[in-house]
Subunit: 354 residues, 2 copies
């Protein structure tokens, strides 16, 4: 932990016996520097551990604000509100460095709508975009085209791995699914009949969770039987309408009444909240172990009543935050390499922790 204050370009210049102009030239390799001076400067930089002061940098070059565009489906207020928090945080931190954010949310997981959002962002003159791909591959060509056009894209929350996106910031969803399976096994003491409630699997993160869940369940808890996998997304345009959440709840109630000796439900996403509501309204909370994802508005209540037993959670706020920061780094210093795959660990939430 160094107590020494930041070394400046001036000190580097003095150390290398050159002018700050020369230091600037080699630092931003603009050429026109003799080989020996260049070497001297580089040595000085290394020895003094010089790092440019970004604040001064952006002040001096009156940096035309670098604009970062962000788009994500703003469909479930609790989960996506955290994304907004993360953006706020990034904005607060990056604003002094001349960064400006432009946000365009979509109201569904519709692909066309997302393409339009991207277009809108581009028209606003953003220099880079952070997005949550609505499809695991149908957006590849679009993403590639943007990359081609000089607008790099970073994905977060869910990925589009075969595209030329710059990076992905999110959790390892296969492991999230495995973790959910382990929790299911523990809470059921290794046996019972369960159901899976999923939404459309074209969003990669959802599919990966299911894969992980099933794999883990089969290999470690052979006595737990998955009776059915329900798609509760209501078609391709999930969330296109107002009361989808209530619909999920009613659908769940109907399904729950169909099954006699059901002991568990795994829900692949934040709709866990509404599945939980259904179970509670039917009084099934004690004979059912619900394992799901994400904290939502009723989390506290549903966990306190032991309706939901465990949740595997992401931290969407931190993920956008890092996505935005990485984008800034890339835009500010394109030469510097960046974490291409930044995977965060999911988090387990049980009521003892609340």
């Amino acid at each position: 932990m160094s107590i020494d204050k930041k070394t400046t370009i001036r000190e580097v210049a003095r150390f290398a016996n050159v002018s700050i102009g020369t230091v600037d030239r080699v630092l931003n390799n603009r050429g026109n520097v003799s080989l020996e001076k260049e070497k001297a400067v580089k040595e000085a930089v290394a020895k003094l551990q010089y790092e440019p002061n970004r604040v001064a940098q952006s002040l001096a070059k009156q940096r035309r604000k670098v604009k970062i565009g962000i788009t994500f489906p703003d469909v479930e207020r609790y989960f996506w509100a955290k994304v907004k928090d993360g953006i706020d945080r990034a904005e607060k931190e990056l604003q002094p460095l001349g960064v400006e954010f432009v946000v365009h949310t979509t109201s569904s997981y519709n692909i066309e709508e997302q393409v339009n959002a991207l277009e809108a962002l581009k028209n606003q003159g953003v220099h880079g975009i952070c997005m949550v791909p609505h499809h695991f591959q149908k957006l590849n060509s679009t993403i590639d085209a943007y990359a081609e056009a000089g607008i790099p894209i970073i994905t977060f929350i869910s990925d589009s791995p075969e595209s030329r996106r710059l990076a992905y910031m999110g959790v390892d969803d296969v492991k999230s699914g495995e973790t959910a399976a382990k929790l299911m096994g523990l809470y059921l003491k290794g046996k019972g009949k369960i159901l899976i409630f999923a939404i459309h699997r074209e969003v990669l993160c959802i599919d990966e969770r299911i894969q992980g869940f099933l794999h883990k369940l089969h290999s470690e808890f052979p006595e737990i039987e998955v009776m059915n996998v329900y798609d509760v997304s209501g078609g391709n345009h999930l969330y296109d309408y107002e009361n989808y959440q209530d619909d999920v709840q009613h659908l769940t109630e109907r399904i729950l009444l169909e099954y006699e000796d059901l002991q568990g439900i795994y829900v692949t996403n934040s709709l866990t909240n509404y599945v939980g509501r259904a179970a509670l309204s039917l009084g099934f909370q004690d004979k059912l172990s619900i394992i799901g994802h994400e904290t939502t508005e009723d989390t506290r209540h549903l966990m306190a009543t032991n309706t939901i037993d465990a949740l595997v959670c992401q931290t969407p706020d931190i993920e956008v935050y890092y996505a935005a920061k990485q984008m800034y780094e890339y835009l500010a210093v394109p030469s510097k390499p960046l974490n291409l795959k930044f995977k965060r660990r999911s988090t387990i939430l049980i009521n003892e922790l609340l």
Copy 2:
């Protein structure tokens, strides 16, 4: 595209027929401005829609250095190394704002040594201190004296709640203990005989974990029996010597051989690592559920072999980071209220998540 050429403080000054100094005064209400000029400036600000340039602001501000002191026991390299990471991060972020850090670690949980560290920090002219109290109340008077002397103190990781520290940044350790108990119950399927390995309980966070653990265990898993609570700290000066970690391992081996039908061990802190090593070396990994705290050097291996079943973890890096940031906020803008109790949620780690 926004071509808004920002209006500057200079333009406001000209518009209001005053100097930029005066504008600055009313903008940051430092007083000493006549009522009419103040009014004129405010009008100009409103009319020109002036907004201060944050970049220039922080560039200019970084002259007034504020020194923040930090002290913590640097006794177990893995856990406390993360604290250093957090400090580095805070330093990197706050340095452009003129903040300087001074760190003094202690090599034990000895109280006198901590008092000396505090003294050293004070002598270096720090404006505020972040610390991990070595005792839940014996440091109260010292902390109060520092507060009295105008050097505010923020505690992190562990608290000294009856002192006049400004704030505490850390997890809720009672809940951490309860969570550990729940996990123990789940992994043992509700019954069995267990042991508790603790270190000295004068460090509040340890005591709270034990309290939480026992309370939860008794109320929810009455068929789990705690056979004994071992103090593996080796007296008041835990960690004062080189090989304490190996000693813990050997001690554990001896204890393990004493108990016949032992099914679980709860370890109150990061010594879980060495308890795990002992269990593994004796080949006990399959007949024993070990629940503990914190990730350490062997976490991956010990979990992969199912020696350690679950860990309840903190994020010490984030906790110092916030402690430092809060301290900065307090020092920079004393009038602004701050989060007095910032409790983070602990995190559960199981091998599926690794």
